[in-house]
């Protein structure tokens, strides 16, 4: 039964793969899971920056915006293929993160939070301001669906599998990153930056790289989002989105990769349960969050591992 303890994620993977076949979801249902997948990519990237490197960001949606708008503008207006546009978005986001990373990440805690928040607002106000290119506040229309090798992913189930493949790749690569020497350097920076520096870790360089990696993930998520929606507006990328991402991290259990993924999934599916309470929805969401934060400081993933450890040993012995 130790195998179950180690390979529980395989069950999860199988569930993701089999769900559309067994559940036969409506386009609406699979749409929810597509959104959840996109947010998982964002949250896992942010977890590398916040959970592992310890650098707070209240502006992560900025790179989500850069990815979405690069994809949207290049495909809708300049006839790029979606894959190429996504690539351009990734390069653009990484460059932007590289250029802003050093000065911004030299700041700590609240100052860093404020600077990233400001960066987010700058990106959004520029998008609103340059109407000719971006469609301004009323949004950018007519973004074509994603295509791979000439095969259009118009069908919602095709896109479901596409997005979730990316999700799995992002999670797997994040785990690889965390376990690599680079990842250990990030964790060292988190626990004590001065000590890490005295052991020869170039903190500014590593922090900037973690920031770039998170930006790249967010940019990919943005491209996936733009092609799924076909229409994007600045509201989707404001600081409220960034704040939501923070909530996902802490709700799920920060610094665990799976935790933020779980948090994103939970927060994206929660409205499906609470929407029937109509005007009470916002209050109930707030209360659920407060309860988790007060009583389960290690988040949903903490609850999950505690349960797993309780059940599995009993089965094994």
């Amino acid at each position: 039964m130790n195998a179950l303890k180690r390979y529980w994620w395989l069950i999860l993977l199988a569930a993701i793969a089999v769900y559309p076949v067994i559940g036969k979801p409506s386009p609406y249902r699979s749409g929810l899971l597509i959104f959840a997948g996109i947010y998982i990519i964002l949250a896992v990237g942010l977890d590398l920056l916040m959970g592992y490197t310890g650098q707070i960001s209240v502006g992560h949606a900025a790179f989500f915006a850069v990815g979405a708008y690069t994809s949207g503008i290049l495909t809708a207006k300049y006839g790029f293929s979606p894959a190429a546009a996504m690539g351009v978005g990734v390069v653009f986001s990484a460059t932007l993160a590289f250029l802003t990373g050093r000065p911004v990440l030299a700041l700590k805690e609240y100052y860093l939070a404020m600077a990233t928040l400001a960066f987010n607002e700058i990106v959004v106000t520029l998008i609103i301001g340059f109407e000719g290119l971006t469609g301004g506040a009323s949004g950018l229309r007519d973004i074509p669906p994603f295509t791979i090798f000439g095969f259009s992913l118009l069908n919602h189930l095709h896109y479901y599998y596409f997005v979730w493949t990316v999700v799995v790749l992002v999670i797997a690569s994040s785990i690889a990153v965390v376990r690599s020497p680079f990842g250990r350097a990030l964790i060292a920076i988190h626990s004590d930056e001065q000590a890490a520096r005295s052991f020869g870790v170039d903190c500014a360089k590593y922090k900037t790289r973690a920031y770039m990696l998170a930006a790249v993930y967010a940019s990919i998520a943005g491209s996936l989002f733009a092609h799924y929606m076909g229409f994007i507006a600045p509201d989707d990328f404001g600081i409220l989105t960034s704040i939501n991402l923070l909530v996902m991290l802490f709700l799920g259990g920060i610094g665990t990769i799976f935790g933020p993924a779980l948090g994103a999934l939970f927060l994206k599916l929660l409205p499906e349960i609470t929407y029937q309470f109509q005007d009470y929805e916002l209050l109930i969401n707030g209360i659920i969050l407060i309860v988790v934060l007060v009583f389960f400081p290690r988040g949903l993933f903490g609850i999950f591992t505690a349960l797993r450890n309780k059940i599995v040993p009993r089965m094994g012995k």
């Binding site: 960066f119 409220l240 991290l249 802490f250 934060l293």
Partner: protein, 288 residues
Amino acid sequence: MSDISHLVQFLFSGITVGSVYALIAVSLVIVYKVSQLICFAQGEFFVFGALTMTTLVSKGVPVPLAFFLSIIIAMALGALIQQVLIRPMKNTSVGALIVMTIAISLALRGLALLIWGRESHVLPPFSRGEPIQVLGAALQLQILWIVGITTVVLFLIWFFFEKTPAGIAMRACAENPYGASLMGINTQKTTLVAWAWGSGIGALAGMAVAPMLFTQYTSGIMPMVKGFIAMSIGGLGSIVGSVIAGLLLGLVESYTIGLISSKFSDTIVFALLMAVLVFRPNGLFSRS
């Protein structure tokens, strides 16, 4: 209108908005000083203040009474939140605390939605009368109220922190909570008082501009963000710095909207913030 009257008009709107930013920034600073915590729910007190007063006045409660009742309700709410939700989270990380205040702001926003619905509410001006003409620009009487209230509040805060034992105790808690507790200062009580002050001032900001604004349950977000900016430019823990920064922010905003571009005024404001953070991380007015 002549050019001069335009400039004067921008000055009036800048001072109005700036006063509100200054009040919110001060309310944030007071909480930050004693709890080392930036409360993301501060915008909700802005909304609660404005909407409670609007409701009370529409129910026929005299304006001065409604004014004080609304402040007291907000103060009680802030103290309650500190006592029940923030206090148990003493030993958690900054990130978790920030998210806690975000959760509180969601819950409060949800509560405001239940009480006041989705529609906007306007409070009648505190006093009736024609705007005063100054160099061809119109000065609404409510602006005088806003500036007056801001001045009085700032004076009271200065007096409290400099001249009263409770205020000095609060400063001691901000400097060194452990040392303060050794000197017999009840740090928990002091923190509670600070939260009540912070919530009350946040509410006051909302009430003062309620006659010039359509307030609804989501109205707290932008003022809160601008309050953050003022607070950061002023150097997080400095009341004087954040007041100057709040007024400056209001003026910069008003003049960029009027003279440069309304589209990019927020871009300019946020770029200014980033520049200050990167080049003067201890605030624009720090000595070092």
